[in-house]
């Protein structure tokens, strides 16, 4: 017995020695985590690539509240309430200190980190043939433009920012901070535009389920209809914006125009349940049920911000929307910011309200129907932004679904008008913001200096046996049933001759630009465009004539804050980067 056991032990000895050697091998100490995924476990197939895209959008949605606060509260249309904290007040006065939590670029870079990671790995997947060209570009382009959008935001708010495109996989990458120099806003725009050249033109259309069947599947509670593909960034309009910021007005106009004609260039598919003809055109389809004209007992225009995602008419307007669901995170941040029954830290400014009150309608009455009861309302005498809270009922506090509108047709038209105006098309620009091409050009193709205009300014609103694609155009003010606004002709026209001749084209452009900007305030207030619009104009005018831009912004903000000298130099336009 004893001998046997010791024999057993002797036999076990080599086994144990082996085990010790084996246990030393590398595999034992290179364990794969089980509750997270490491690099080798991701980006293995198209579903992994889709997960990366979905993850980025999931994170992107967390920026919504910050986006609106920075882009609107810094401008003149949105104001603080007595319930706002000091940090919001700082933002409102454009005096953010270095400890201001809203003036923090880090949340943008958090998404950028994931974009860079995904872009790098998509390329690897393409090389490994895990993604074919179409699959690759649909995903790569989407993430690419999301990153560009984030950098545009960073540029707008922080001016000089580091342009990081490298994947920060390991802490060692950060050791060399020289790799991340800070670019001026202007250089950043150059970079963004230059980098975008690499994207083939055929991939500039917004993602649809036909090209990305794995990425776009029905999402509860959203059907696979228009709403779904509108989750994804609108690529061409962003390119237009980049060029508009840079001052490449013709190029910007081209991108915008292509989007404006989506309805006549896209082939009809089952994805387009809507009547695509009117898509992004600001039209009256004469069906008698156009829901967006501001008439009717309940103003239908406000449905742009409250209709269900798949609703047809509003989808002619909506271009890029991200939905907040009451069932899934993140929680809709807008209710808390805007609703009187919640925190109510943001409200319409007096400037914004007065602007609406001063508009003249086609019926001759005062006040714009896009203002009271549309863009905002009064609750017990206190103004509340309605665009974000119209579906919210304080008695049902958990019904928090809502949408984050990132781009819509009116924005597109206003931006096109801005670009066209800078290309000398003041008439076309004012027609678009007034009552539309059909009326504006009197049943003729758009003209410039008396001759038919060329791409991208060649709008055909003619009506006859064969209608031009723009014959239903009613313009932004036309849709609002407002009277047209016109520039003061005496300033820029030689009134002595007939037909009148432009005597000061610069003044005409500037006056028209002011009209466009004011129309933007009426149409798109609180949606997150105001500060960028003001900043863009200010930078442009500063470039035209030093000091003008600072003066312009100071005047705009003084109307809200009462402080006539918020900024003294262009550098003051930006928040401190930290």
């Amino acid at each position: 017995m004893k001998k046997n056991l010791s024999g057993l032990f002797k036999a076990a000895l080599p086994v144990m020695v082996c085990a010790s050697v084996l246990s030393a091998c590398q595999k034992t100490f290179d364990l794969q985590p089980k509750e997270v995924l490491v690099t080798e476990q991701v980006y293995q197939n198209i579903y992994d690539a889709d997960a990366a895209v979905l993850g980025i959008y999931g994170q992107f949605m967390k920026l919504a509240g910050r986006y609106v606060i920075l882009n609107e509260l810094r401008g003149d249309l949105l104001d603080v309430t007595p319930k706002s904290d000091a940090y919001l007040r700082e933002i409102s006065l454009n005096k953010a200190g270095s400890d201001n939590p809203y003036a923090d670029p880090a949340p943008f870079y958090e998404v950028i980190l994931n974009c860079n990671d995904a872009l790098k790995n998509f390329e690897i997947m393409r090389q490994k043939k895990l993604l074919d060209e179409t699959q690759f570009y649909q995903r790569y382009t989407d993430v690419f433009f999301v990153r560009a959008w984030l950098y545009l935001q960073l540029g707008i708010h922080f001016g000089q920012v580091p342009y990081v495109t490298e994947d920060i996989a390991d802490i060692s990458v950060l050791k060399d901070q020289a790799k991340f120099p800070r670019l001026s806003f202007n250089n950043l725009l150059d970079k963004l535009i230059a980098d975008a050249v690499s994207i083939p033109k055929e991939y500039l259309g917004q993602n649809t389920s036909l090209v990305s069947p794995t990425l776009l599947v029905p999402m509860e509670p959203y059907l696979l209809k228009d709403g779904v593909f509108k989750f994804f960034i609108h690529r061409r309009s962003l390119l237009g914006d980049l060029h508009l910021w840079k001052g490449n007005y013709l190029q910007a106009a081209k991108y915008y125009k292509d989007v404006m004609e989506t309805g006549s260039s896209l082939t009809t598919t089952t994805n387009y349940q809507i009547d695509i003809y009117d898509t992004y055109r600001i039209t009256n389809d004469n069906s008698g049920r156009n829901t967006l004209l501001t008439n009717g007992t309940v103003n239908p225009w406000r449905n742009i911000f409250s209709n269900a995602l798949e609703e047809t008419e509003t989808n002619r307007e909506r271009m890029w929307t991200l939905p907040f669901s009451e069932t899934f995170g993140p929680v809709n941040p807008f209710l808390d910011l805007f609703s009187i029954s919640k925190s109510y830290v943001l409200k319409p400014s007096d400037v914004a309200r007065a602007n609406w009150a001063n508009q003249v309608r086609t019926d001759g009455g005062l006040t714009d129907r896009r203002g009271l009861e549309s863009s905002y309302r009064l609750v017990n005498g206190q103004p509340e932004v309605l665009k974000y809270v119209s579906n919210y009922d304080p008695l049902q506090p958990f019904k928090t679904s809502g949408i984050w509108m990132l781009y819509r047709a009116a924005t597109l038209h206003l931006r096109f008008a801005e670009a066209a105006n800078r290309e000398g098309r003041s008439k076309l620009a004012s027609v678009l913001i007034n009552d539309g091409l059909y009326t504006g050009f009197g049943n003729k193709v758009a003209t410039y200096n008396g001759v038919t205009d060329s791409y991208p300014f060649d709008f055909d609103p003619t009506k006859g046996t064969r209608n031009g694609v723009w014959y239903r155009s009613i313009g932004i003010r036309g849709r609002a049933l407002n009277q047209n606004v016109i520039v003061d002709s005496t300033r820029s026209f030689d009134m002595a001759v007939n037909p009148r001749i432009v005597k000061d084209p610069v003044l005409l452009t500037q006056d028209t630009e002011d009209l466009i900007l004011n129309e933007a305030a009426l149409e798109t207030a609180f949606e997150g465009y105001r500060w960028p619009d003001l900043l863009r104009i200010a930078l442009r005018r500063e470039k035209d004539k030093a000091g003008e831009g600072v003066k312009y912004l100071n005047a705009k903000l003084a109307a809200k804050t009462g402080n006539p000298a918020t900024f003294s130099t262009v550098e003051d336009f930006y928040l401190p980067f930290r």
């Binding site: 004893k2 056991l5 010791s6 032990f9 000895l13 144990m16 085990a19 010790s20 246990s23 030393a24 091998c25 590398q26 034992t28 100490f29 290179d30 364990l31 985590p33 089980k34 509750e35 997270v36 995924l37 490491v38 992994d48 889709d50 997960a51 990366a52 895209v53 979905l54 993850g55 980025i56 999931g58 994170q59 949605m61 904290d85 000091a86 007040r89 201001n100 670029p105 880090a106 870079y109 958090e110 950028i112 980190l113 994931n114 990081v164 920060i168 996989a169 390991d170 802490i171 060692s172 950060l174 959203y222 669901s325 009451e326 899934f328 995170g329 929680v331 958990f398 928090t400 980067f577």
Partner: protein, 1059 residues
């Protein structure tokens, strides 16, 4: 008797230095040694030494003492206590051992005649044997700082766990009991915090197996931690050895010191039976002084007025009209409604015995201990089986099996403001009542619901809530020892640990405030949690020993430890079951169900070698080295890489000089032993997270779909923390061991210390885990053991130990932010202690609006707004000279680390009586009293302490309590020195009286009766319940009183019977 004697000789004589730690009294034991005068017969012509052995207490000679010289000669003392023994030379060490007495290694100091006096075996002295991982070693020969406690079961402290038992017993080991919850144990710190974010707890090894103390998931029960060490019954423990430095052998797990626990094995082949039974009473704690109904009403009126209510409105409120509204007219002492005294029961049975092939020890224990909070208690069953097998002449085997199961009824503690009964008992409006009182005034049997102030019913939180923790642990190991020859041995221990915690909780609807969730109101909330841990552990080593000649000997070990661990936790919580009686997760609203958990897996390999060299029994040298590999290290973690695996190479060297053995010490009669030690070693801490080194991805939802986003910035160079320890120590025994003394001075340098390094905005993550900090601990330890009175009838021994250290951050990356925990803010800055309380200093209260105005100071609130101070606001000290009180005015307002901690033990023995008293103390530590901060913030409906009666009310009033204002708009209750208190204390920790019942019965060997009282008194200035608590093991939670169950007084009566 014959059998016993024979086995005694065979087992014990060759086992050279064995501390025989039987628990019987010396006098009884001495009889059982057969006395025979024995002279060594090996080398009659050799050098000889003669001497006498005496009982140190009675002065009487001790016959039958085994006297030996290692590998050379052996003898027994005669009935006059005399012996003669051959020695190779005068440097030889004479080893003395006798049952019931301490073992001793006597140095001849060049003399041929020695007088030896022996104390009883429980006497703690420099001759104690430390049970080190690769063999026992007398403390007189250790080169490292080691403390050894022969607990002998500590039968007089039945309800303690090993960690709380250590309190006050080892210099430099700071044991802080976590709370008063039964079995909750203590946080152990050996020589301070050696890490900020990795574990600071020492490594515990039980019977050669690493005993994992971590819990791999948070408890669902607020404020609760499972104490795994409670699974080892103190009565099963024979010896606890604490290694404070020189822990390099444990490589990257040795940085915080090592505690080796040895459980009891059979002492002989005779069958022995030990039985213990205890019963006790736990007392309540003294209530904190909160306001009664009348004072509370006045306070409420003040508060409501500050919120804009008019006098008429306030006057019309039902609770302001005592009498008219019976439901608001009670005077309830809510603290009495939620806490109670309780009882404890404890039974233990141990059987041991065997034959010459196998011996065994089997024990079983049962414990039932009521908690301070009503309806809480702990029940634990334990069993342990230890066996030793002599399989062949050369092969020996051991087996250790232990299983325990504990079931603990708890309630939420700490900062769960809606469910913690203890907290609710303090803040609940005193005019309300636990039961509903309808308009007519008769008390209904229904529990009252949430009150008008949105406060839970404390009584409901104890009666209706559920917080059940059940945990199980199985530890099993087998060991082999194969002796190839006299020089070579191969030993191995292989074992597994399986641990499981199951928790079930319910936050009831009735009487507890509902939770407002994103999508619904959560009315009740059942939860369940399972945490599993499984590990395989092996320690295999070859040992070699050799004596070159009589003066030089060498011992060497080479081995490896491999530990593969897995943990998994799964929890589910849900809301809104049909009723509070229906508490399964299946019954919750499906859209409100939250499930989660974690899985971890990690491997650790520690290859080690050690060489101990002994020259002339005076000079000792020890060299240790470990090479560690771990799955946690990054791929670029180190300079040393073997086969693609990064290795941590951690050496240590130590030397000792036994000065007293030198011939020149011959004349120094007073100095029996004097040893100087010095050591320097490097160890590590591998508790750096399972995969922090890897870049990984986590899930990110997008509507109902799941995407993936980055979870971190990887750090491929993430490595262990390096801990370099230098130690100089002196061990001495003076005046025939009447005074034993040990002094250590140490310096610990921690480099590669894990910190969350700020990475800047552009990185996408605010912080990354890097090894870029360094820290230093410098300290001093003194342990003294004296025998003040030492005579036949009366013995008085006193022990004293003290540890002090200074912690200093040496380097940190730039931009490290403040750390917060439970409202406290900690500062971490280079050149200072790592966890200083950092807040506002105050200087009383503005006596009037005019004075506040005159200060010219503005108050910057946490929302960034600037408001002027008003009369009755706290005068925060302006440090930077600007006109604003803001975060730039924060300064260090306290240090949670004690200046020194220690213990004072006394043992008084008279005839059959003995009295043990242990005092513990902690001096100079500051406490943030977070409970008092809520009880004196005067911002809401919460009842407050009587201190707020002094609140500022009128201009000109001089007081140090600010005004009562709804919501505290001036933030007078912010983290400031108002809430920092001196946490120093001196506590009569345990006093126990035992009496050995004289028995003549044949069947019964002995019987002892115990009476023990715990936490008898505490001398402290602290205003909370008790200054001793530890809500987290983290350095950044130290000294924050979050409101856990306080430590209470208890008494136990017990009896131990030996058969």
């Amino acid at each position: 008797m014959q059998l016993f004697t024979k086995s005694f000789k065979r087992l014990f004589l060759p086992a050279l230095v064995v501390a025989v730690s039987a628990s019987e009294l010396a006098a009884q034991q001495a009889d059982s040694i057969q006395v025979n005068t024995s002279v060594d017969k090996v080398n009659p012509n050799q050098l000889r030494v003669s001497g006498t052995v005496k009982d140190a207490r009675t002065g009487k000679p001790i016959p039958g003492v085994s006297v030996s010289v290692s590998n050379y000669a052996a003898a027994l003392s005669d009935d006059k206590g005399m012996f003669r023994i051959s020695i190779p030379n005068l440097n030889a060490l004479v080893l003395v051992s006798a049952q019931g007495y301490q073992g001793k290694q006597v140095s001849l100091k060049g003399s041929k005649k020695v007088e030896i006096s022996l104390f009883e075996d429980s006497y703690s002295s420099v001759y104690d044997v430390a049970q080190l991982p690769y063999g026992d070693k007398p403390l007189s020969q250790t080169v490292f700082s080691v403390a050894s406690i022969n607990t002998e079961g500590s039968w007089n402290r039945a309800n303690e766990t090993a960690d709380s038992y250590l309190q006050g017993n080892v210099a430099g080991l700071n044991a802080t009991r976590r709370s008063g919850t039964p079995g909750i144990g203590a946080d152990l710190l050996i020589r301070g915090y050696n890490s900020l974010y990795a574990t600071a707890q020492p490594l515990v090894v039980v019977d050669g197996m690493i005993y994992d103390l971590n819990t791999y998931a948070n408890s669902l029960i607020s404020g609760h931690r499972t104490n795994h060490l409670a699974n080892v019954d103190l009565k099963d423990i024979d010896n606890i050895t604490v290694i404070k430095d020189g822990t390099s052998l444990y490589g990257t797990r040795g940085a915080n010191g090592v505690i080796l626990i040895t459980t009891g094995r059979a002492k002989g082949e005779a069958t022995r039976l030990d039985f213990g039974a205890y019963g006790g009473f736990n007392s309540k704690v003294e209530n904190l002084p909160v306001m009664g109904a009348d004072k509370y009403r006045i306070y409420l009126a003040d508060l409501l007025k500050s919120s804009g209510s008019s006098d008429a409105q306030i006057g019309s409120m039902p609770f302001m009209n005592e009498g008219s509204y019976p439901a608001y007219s009670r005077t309830t002492n809510w603290q009495d409604e939620v806490i109670n005294g309780g009882y404890s029961k404890n039974y233990y049975l141990k059987v041991s015995g065997g034959d010459n092939i196998a011996t065994y020890a089997l024990s079983m224990g049962y414990l039932d201990n009521d908690g301070l909070t009503k309806n809480t208690n702990l029940t634990r069953y334990q069993t342990r089986f230890n066996a030793n097998l002599n399989l062949s002449q050369k092969l020996k085997a051991t087996a250790n099996l232990a299983f325990s199961r504990a079931e603990q009824n708890l309630r939420d503690q700490g900062r769960s403001f809606d469910t913690n009964p203890l907290y609710l008992g303090l803040i609940k409006a005193p005019f309300l009542y636990p039961y509903e009182i309808p308009a007519l005034g008769k008390v209904s049997p229904n529990l009252a619901g949430v009150d008008d102030f949105s406060m839970s019913n404390p009584f409901s939180a104890v009666e209706k809530a559920l917080a059940l923790d059940r945990n199980y642990r199985f530890v099993g190991s087998v060991g082999f020892d194969y002796a190839f020859n006299k020089k070579f041995n191969l030993q191995s221990v292989v074992g597994i640990t399986y641990d499981k915690i199951r928790e079930n909780t319910l936050r009831p609807k009735l009487g507890v405030v509902s939770e407002v969730l994103n999508t619904a109101v959560g009315e009740n909330k059942p939860g369940a949690n399972v945490v599993r841990y499984f590990s395989v552990y092996t320690d295999t080593w070859a040992s070699y020993k050799h004596s070159f000649n009589t003066n030089h000997s060498l011992k060497a070990n080479l081995g490896f430890r491999f530990n593969s661990s897995k943990s998994e936790s799964d929890y589910g919580i849900g809301y809104n079951t049909a009723s509070d009686e229906f508490v399964t997760l299946g019954g919750v609203e499906s859209t409100l169900r939250i499930v989660g958990g974690g899985i971890g897996q990690w491997n650790w390999l520690n290859t080690y070698a050690n060489v101990d060299y002994n020259a002339y029994n005076k000079y000792f040298l020890s060299f240790n080295v470990a090479a560690d590999a771990s799955s946690r290290f990054g791929t670029d973690a180190g300079s040393l890489s073997v086969g693609g695996t990064n290795i941590a190479l951690l050496p240590a060297i130590g030397g000792a000089w036994l000065i007293s053995s030198e011939n020149f010490m011959k004349g120094q009669k007073a100095i029996e032993t004097l040893k100087l030690r010095a050591s320097y070693g490097i160890s590590g801490n591998e508790d750096i997270g399972n995969y922090g080194s890897k870049k990984y991805y986590v899930s990110q939802g997008f509507l109902n779909r799941q995407g993936l986003v980055r979870g971190n910035i990887g750090n491929s160079s993430l490595k262990w923390e390096t801990v370099k320890k230098a130690n100089i120590g002196l061990d001495a025994a003076l005046y025939n061991e009447r005074i034993n003394l040990s002094i250590d001075v140490y310096n610990t340098n921690i480099s590669d210390m894990l910190v969350y390094e700020p990475t800047g905005s552009l990185s996408g993550f605010p912080y990354a885990l890097t090894n870029s900090g360094s820290m230093q601990n410098t300290g001093l330890e003194i342990a003294v053991n004296t025998r003040i009175i030492n005579n036949e009838k009366l013995v008085w021994g006193m022990g004293f130990n003290l540890g002090t250290y200074k912690n200093k951050i040496k380097s940190l990356p730039a931009g490290i932010p403040l750390n917060s925990y439970a409202g406290a803010t900690y500062l971490m800055r280079e050149g200072r202690a790592a966890n200083l309380f950092y807040g506002y200093k105050t200087n009383g209260v503005y006596t009037s609006a005019a004075e506040a105005n005159a200060s010219g100071l503005m108050n910057k609130l946490s929302n960034g707004s600037l408001v002027p101070f008003q009369g009755g606001d706290v005068r925060f000290v302006n440090t930077n000279g600007d006109a604003v009180i803001d975060k730039n005015d924060m300064q260090v307002i306290g240090n949670p680390n004690p200046d020194f901690v220690g213990g004072l033990s006394n043992r008084l023995a008279y005839k059959r009586w003995s009295l043990d008293a242990l005092f513990t103390f902690s001096v100079g530590n500051d406490i943030y009293n977070a409970t008092r901060a809520s009880l004196e913030s005067m911002s809401g409906y919460e009842n407050q302490t009587l201190a707020v009666l002094n609140r500022w009310r009128t201009d000109g009033q001089v007081t140090n309590i600010p005004r009562a204002v709804w919501g505290d708009p001036a933030e007078n209750a912010r983290f400031s020195d108002r809430w920092i208190e001196d946490g120093s204390y001196f506590k009569l920790r345990t006093v126990s009286l035992s009496y050995d019942v004289p028995f003549k019965a044949a069947f019964m060997k002995y019987a002892t009766v115990y009476a023990t009282a715990n936490n008898v008194f505490t001398v402290t200035k602290y205003l909370g319940y008790d200054p001793e608590f530890s809500s987290q093991g983290s350095i950044f939670a130290r000294g924050v009183d979050t409101g856990l169950e306080p430590i209470y007084k208890s008494v136990q009566l017990g009896v131990r019977i030996g058969l």
